[in-house]
C-alpha cells in the first residue's frame, strides 16, 4: 500500500502572515519522518494540513498519491497523536480505542477483538475497563497510540507526544515508538523541537525555521553536513566563528577571522572570496595536541566541567567569543584550569564553512 505523503508546492498563509513558505517535500511510504524546529516555526501547521484541520492556501497535500484537497479531516487516512493526547476522559480505555471503529460502523465483537489486540500491542492487556484518569502518564501515552492505530491509518501523525513525559519514560517511549513503527510498517510523521528525539528515531529529518524547511536529510548527514547556519547551530552543539573568505581552494576555504587569525574549513555550497561566512566546529572535534595539517586557535579557559566520560571546557577567544569544547576524560591534566591559556586544534575536514553570520 502506498502511504507516502507529498506536500506539493504547499503554501499556508494566515492573513498577511505566511506560516509555511512554498514547500515541496515527499515523505516515503513507511518512513519515520520528523519535522524538527523551534516552537513557532510552522511544524504544527504542516501536521494540521496533512490531517485536514487546515487547507493549504496554495498547492496540495497528497497521501498515497491521492489529492486531499476538499477531503475533510474525518475522511483522511491519517491518525493523529496530540501533544496533550486528547484522550476522551468520559470514556473507558476500551471505548477510547474503539471510538474510531465505532464511527466506522464496525460490529461490537470486531471492535472488542481489535481493542484487545491493540492493548496487547501496547502491553496494557488488563486496562480495558479502566477510566482514563486511572492511568499513569506513560500508560495514557500508549493508549493514545493504540487509539490512533485502531483505525488502521496509512499515516500516523505525532505532535510532540513525548514532551510531557519525564526523561526516563521519554527514552523508553522512543524505543517503543520505533518498534511499533517497524511492526506496523506505516508512515510516521513526527513533530518535535527536541533534536534528541528526532535524531534517534527518524529515518529522515526536516529542519524547519520560520516557516521554511532548511534541510531534509538522514540524522547523520544532518549532523555532519549541515547546509545552513541555522541547521549547524540548531542540530547538536556547535561553535560558530565568523570571518571573511579570503581564499577558496576547491573543497576548502580560508577565512580571515580577525584576532583569531586565519582558519580553514570545508566549504558548504558555492563560496566566493569576499563573502562573510561562519566556520562551525563541533565541541568534540577540538584537540589539545596539534598534529600535521591541523589548524589551531588560542583561547583562555573560563570553566572546566567534569561530566564523567568526558570533560567540557568553556573558553573565551581573544575576540571575546565563547567556545565550548568536549574532551575525553583521559585528556584531563592540571594545566586545564580557569584562566589558563589553551591551544585548540581541529582537522580542516571537521570544520564546515557556511555563508552568512552565525545564526544563534
Amino acid at each position: 500500500m502506498d502511504s507516502s505523503v507529498h506536500l506539493d508546492n504547499t503554501v499556508m498563509q494566515f492573513g498577511d502572515f505566511t506560516a509555511i513558505q512554498k514547500t515541496d517535500l515527499k515523505i516515503e511510504s513507511g518512513e519515520f519522518f520528523s519535522f524538527l524546529g523551534p516552537s513557532g516555526c510552522g511544524k504544527t501547521t504542516i501536521l494540521n494540513m496533512i490531517s485536514g484541520f487546515l487547507d493549504p492556501t496554495q498547492g496540495d497535500v497528497k497521501i498515497g498519491g491521492q489529492s486531499m484537497r476538499g477531503v475533510p479531516a474525518n475522511k483522511r487516512p491519517t491518525s493523529m497523536i496530540f501533544q496533550n493526547l486528547a484522550l476522551f476522559p468520559l470514556m473507558t480505555v476500551s471505548e477510547n480505542i474503539e471510538f474510531g471503529l465505532e464511527v466506522r460502523g464496525v460490529s461490537r465483537s470486531e471492535r472488542k477483538k481489535a481493542s484487545n489486540r491493540l492493548l496487547e500491542l501496547v502491553a496494557l492487556e488488563d486496562s480495558g475497563t479502566k477510566k482514563i484518569a486511572e492511568l499513569s502518564g506513560g500508560q495514557k501515552q500508549r493508549i493514545a497510540i493504540a487509539r490512533a492505530l485502531a483505525v488502521e491509518p496509512q499515516v500516523l501523525l505525532l505532535d510532540e507526544p513525548l514532551s510531557a513525559l519525564d526523561l526516563k519514560l521519554r527514552q523508553h517511549m522512543r524505543t517503543e515508538l520505533k518498534a511499533i513503527q517497524r511492526k506496523t510498517g506505516i508512515t510516521f510523521i513526527y513533530i518535535t523541537h527536541d533534536q534528541g528525539e528526532a535524531l534517534t528515531m527518524s529515518d529522515r529529518v526536516a529542519v524547519m525555521s520560520a516557516g521554511q524547511i532548511q534541510q531534509v536529510a538522514d540524522p547523520i548527514t544532518l549532523y555532519r553536513d549541515p547546509h545552513t547556519a541555522f541547521v549547524a547551530s540548531f542540530v547538536g552543539e556547535n561553535n560558530g566563528v565568523s570571518g571573511k573568505i579570503i581564499e577558496v581552494n576547491s573543497a576548502f576555504v580560508t577565512l580571515d577571522c580577525g584576532p583569531l587569525g586565519k582558519l580553514v574549513g570545508r566549504a558548504q555550497g558555492n563560496l566566493s572570496v569576499g563573502q562573510t561566512a561562519t566556520l562551525f566546529i563541533r565541541p568534540e572535534h577540538f584537540r589539545l595536541q596539534a598534529e600535521d595539517g591541523m589548524h589551531s586557535l588560542q583561547a583562555e579557559i573560563q570553566e572546566v566541567n567534569f561530566e564523567g566520560a568526558y570533560l567540557t571546557l568553556n573558553a573565551n577567544t581573544p575576540a571575546n567569543q565563547a567556545l565550548s569544547i568536549q574532551l575525553g576524560t583521559h585528556q584531563f591534566s592540571d594545566a586545564l584550569k580557569k584562566g589558563a591559556p589553551v591551544s585548540l586544534s581541529y582537522r580542516e575536514q571537521d570544520a564546515i564553512v557556511i555563508v552568512g553570520a552565525d545564526h544563534v
Binding site: 479531516a73 474525518n74 471510538f99 464511527v103 490512533a148
Partner: protein, 295 residues
C-alpha cells in the same frame, strides 16, 4: 464562617455582616414562605372568624385542585408546555453556545454576546409585548411571510400556545446559552479534533464528545429555563389566548381576583413541589448529580 469573617474584618463588622445576611434570609425569604405554608393549610375566612373555631388546619385547599378538572388540566398543561419550552430553548441555544465557545473568534464572540444581552436591558413586559406586535394577525411577521409568498393568508400565531412558546424561548434563551457556553468553553479543543481525526462526523462528535462534557451546563440551563417557564406570568398573560392559560395565572386569580390567599398559596406550593419532583426525576434519568450543577 464567622471566624473567617472575624479574621478578615474584625468582630464588629463580622457581626454586622452576619446579622444583615440573617435578617435578609429570615425576614425576606424564610418567614414569608413559612407564612404562606401556614396560609395554605387554613380556610379562607372573614376577618372576624380568624382565630375562631372555624380556623383549623386541613388539606382542603390542596384537595381543591384535584377536584377541579379544568385547573388540573391547566396544571399538567403548564408542566408539559414548560418541558416543550425547555426543549425548544435547548435546541436553539446549543448551536449558539457551541459557536460562541469554539468556532467564533474572540472578537466575534464578544460582539454576539453583546447583541444577545442588549435586548435584555429592556423591561421584560416591553420585550414580551414587542413579540405581541411581531406575531399579531396583521403584524410584521405575517406581512413578511405573505410578502415572500410562503403563506396565502395570515396565521393566527397568538391563538393557541404558539405565541407563548415563542415568547418564552426568547425570554429565557440567555439562561440556557450561558451555562452551556461555559461548559463547552472548558472542553479541550483537541478533544473535538481527536474525534474528527478518528473519523467522526459532526453529529457523532457532538453526541459522543461535546454533549457528554457539556451535560452539567445543559442540565443547569434546562433547570433554570424549566423553572422560569413553569413560574412565568408575564409571557402567558400577554401572549396567551384564552385557551392557553398558564397555571400561574390561576394562582394569580386566587390571590388577587378571588381574594383567597389560602387557596392561592396551596396552588403555588403544589406547582413548586411538582416542579422540584419533576426536575429530580429528570436529573436521575440523565444521571446528573447536584454536584455537577454546582460546578
Amino acid at each position: 464562617m464567622f471566624s473567617q469573617l472575624k479574621a478578615r474584618f474584625g468582630s464588629g463588622l463580622a457581626v454586622g455582616i452576619i446579622g444583615m445576611i440573617a435578617i435578609w434570609l429570615i425576614g425576606l425569604v424564610i418567614l414569608p414562605q413559612l407564612l404562606m405554608v401556614d396560609y395554605s393549610f387554613r380556610p379562607n375566612l372573614l376577618p372576624a372568624d380568624i382565630g375562631g373555631p372555624k380556623d383549623v388546619y386541613s388539606l382542603t385547599n390542596y384537595e381543591t385542585l384535584f377536584n377541579n378538572l379544568i385547573h388540573l388540566k391547566i396544571f399538567f398543561k403548564t408542566i408539559w408546555s414548560s418541558v416543550l419550552v425547555t426543549s425548544l430553548t435547548l435546541i436553539v441555544s446549543y448551536p449558539i453556545a457551541f459557536y460562541l465557545a469554539k468556532v467564533a473568534t474572540p472578537q466575534k464572540a464578544a460582539l454576539c454576546l453583546l447583541l444577545l444581552i442588549i435586548p435584555f436591558w429592556i423591561n421584560e413586559i416591553l420585550r414580551t409585548f414587542s413579540w405581541y406586535i411581531i406575531l399579531a394577525y396583521k403584524g410584521p411577521l405575517n406581512a413578511l411571510l405573505l410578502g415572500l409568498g410562503l403563506i396565502d393568508r395570515p396565521i393566527r400565531f397568538l391563538s393557541g400556545d404558539g405565541g407563548v412558546l415563542i415568547g418564552m424561548v426568547y425570554a429565557y434563551i440567555l439562561f440556557m446559552i450561558f451555562p452551556i457556553y461555559n461548559a463547552i468553553e472548558s472542553l479541550d479543543t483537541n478533544q473535538i479534533k481527536a474525534a474528527r481525526n478518528l473519523g467522526a462526523g459532526w453529529i457523532r462528535t457532538h453526541w459522543r464528545v461535546v454533549i457528554p462534557h457539556a451535560k452539567p451546563g445543559i442540565a443547569t440551563g434546562c433547570i433554570m429555563t424549566f423553572m422560569l417557564a413553569a413560574g412565568s406570568y408575564a409571557v402567558p398573560a400577554l401572549l396567551g389566548s384564552p385557551g392557553s392559560r398558564w397555571f400561574t395565572q390561576i394562582i394569580y386569580n386566587w390571590f388577587f381576583e378571588g381574594g383567597d390567599w389560602n387557596q392561592g398559596a396551596a396552588y403555588a406550593f403544589l406547582l413548586l413541589i411538582i416542579c422540584i419532583g419533576f426536575i429530580a426525576l429528570v436529573m436521575r434519568i440523565f444521571k446528573v448529580g447536584l454536584g455537577d450543577i454546582a460546578k
